[in-house]
């Protein structure tokens, strides 16, 4: 599956099927700091993502001062 990441903007190819939770673990990302979006729908950590899915992992942490 094609996975889009931010900060910096980039794309990686990951083999599916795979649970959301495992995808994040593989990329060394914490659930609490990210949202996983398939197409334009939010998915939960136990959802199984297929090899053909378009995935975006969006960071939610922000803040300067």
């Amino acid at each position: 599956m094609l996975v889009q990441l931010s900060h910096p903007h980039r794309q990686v190819e990951i083999k599916g099927p795979k649970r959301t939770k495992e995808l994040l673990r593989e990329l060394n990302l914490v659930m609490e700091a990210h949202l996983v979006i398939r197409g334009d729908e939010l998915v939960t950590e136990d959802e199984i993502l297929a090899d053909a899915d378009q995935i975006e992992i969006r960071p939610v942490i922000s803040g300067g001062t």
Binding site: S6, H7, V30, M31, E32, A33, H34, L35, I37, D40, E41, L42, V43, T44, E45, D46, E47, R58, P59, V60, I61, S62, G63, G64, T65
Partner: protein
């Protein structure tokens, strides 16, 4: 994972470990609205008659806040401050204008804009260089000043920002680590208009985590700027948030207990406390087996030893 609230158990879009819940789109939106309504009530932020000015940056928190207040039927206009930080400011300005035109306008809400370059003659970064001050502190001073000035001059009853649970917990952690007592007092979600010329300031998202607000924005198709301000890179706040999120992952609810516990302590006056020695004298007495002080008849050491000896007896 299915929605824990729907009788029909629709597929959930988000799991909330700290609440032991998972929600579908509709139930999650209701949950977020309820959390904001509870904060508004608990901290006496404003009433439906009040005119609210929301500081909107184009990021998820403040656009979601504007969206929620309008959905709840409040009279909320917005103020965007264009800081003049190149492509980042241009893009965030576009997002705010787009939301104002496509959604807010239909609620009769309007957008005010302040452009730093127009008043100061330069953007934030140039100003910081001229003044020999860090960019973010220059920026903070300018934003606070403009928020307050717009609210007072345009006669809004209250000024709202999109600070969330993570912002407040991270700030609290920073303030506690350095024992910044003066700042601790200013961490309440409602700051009164203490003197003439000061607007009342509120943070209605203080009960919601950053992740919950981002999820709300995605679910409700709010188009916000995902990119960060280029100046935010490597900031202490981001480090504190990362640390707190690691703790949160291990024990869900940590951030909430940390920040809400602090607010509770702040609002409930400390009872007249007895000293530690006084308390010990009142509650402790000699153990009936060994004579060392204990709150129970037999001390926990003697109980443990007695138990160990019984268990160690060879069975007959």
């Amino acid at each position: 994972m299915n929605c824990t609230k729907c009788p029909t158990s629709t597929r959930a879009v988000i799991g909330l470990p700290r609440h032991n819940a998972a929600f579908c789109k509709a139930c999650f939106t209701t949950f977020v609205h309820e959390q904001v309504a509870r904060a508004i009530k608990a901290f006496k932020m404003f009433t439906p008659e009040d005119r609210i000015l929301v500081a909107v940056s184009g990021g998820k928190d403040s656009l979601a806040l504007w969206h929620i207040l309008l959905a709840l039927g409040y009279r909320a206009d917005a103020l965007y401050v264009n800081l003049g930080i190149g492509a980042y400011s241009e893009e965030s300005h576009r997002k705010v204008r787009h939301y104002a035109d496509t959604v807010a306008a239909s609620h009769g809400a309007k957008l005010l804009v302040h452009v730093v370059e127009q008043e100061a003659g330069a953007g934030i970064r140039e100003l910081a260089t001229i003044l020999h001050r860090p960019t973010c502190s220059t920026c903070g001073t300018i934003k606070r000043y403009q928020f307050n000035r717009a609210a007072v001059e345009q006669e809004y009853d209250v000024m709202a920002t999109g600070h969330n649970l993570d912002d407040e917990a991270a700030r609290l952690l920073g303030n506690v680590l350095h024992w910044q007592n003066d700042y601790l007092d200013k961490q309440s979600p409602t700051l009164p208009a203490s003197v003439e010329g000061f607007a009342k300031k509120v943070k209605p998202l203080c009960r919601l985590s950053e992740r919950e607000i981002a999820a709300y924005a995605v679910v409700n198709r709010i188009d916000y700027i995902v990119e960060e301000c280029p100046m935010a890179k490597g900031s202490k706040m981001i480090l504190y948030k990362e640390v707190l999120n690691r703790l949160e992952t291990e024990s869900p609810g940590t951030k909430q207990r940390f920040y809400w516990g602090f607010l509770d302590k702040q609002t409930t006056p400390a009872p007249a406390t007895e000293s530690m020695a006084e308390k010990d004298q009142r509650t402790l007495a000699p153990c009936d087996t060994c004579g060392q002080p204990t709150t129970a008849g037999t001390c926990s050491y003697c109980k443990m030893m007695a138990k160990a000896k019984t268990a160690a007896q060879p069975r007959a």
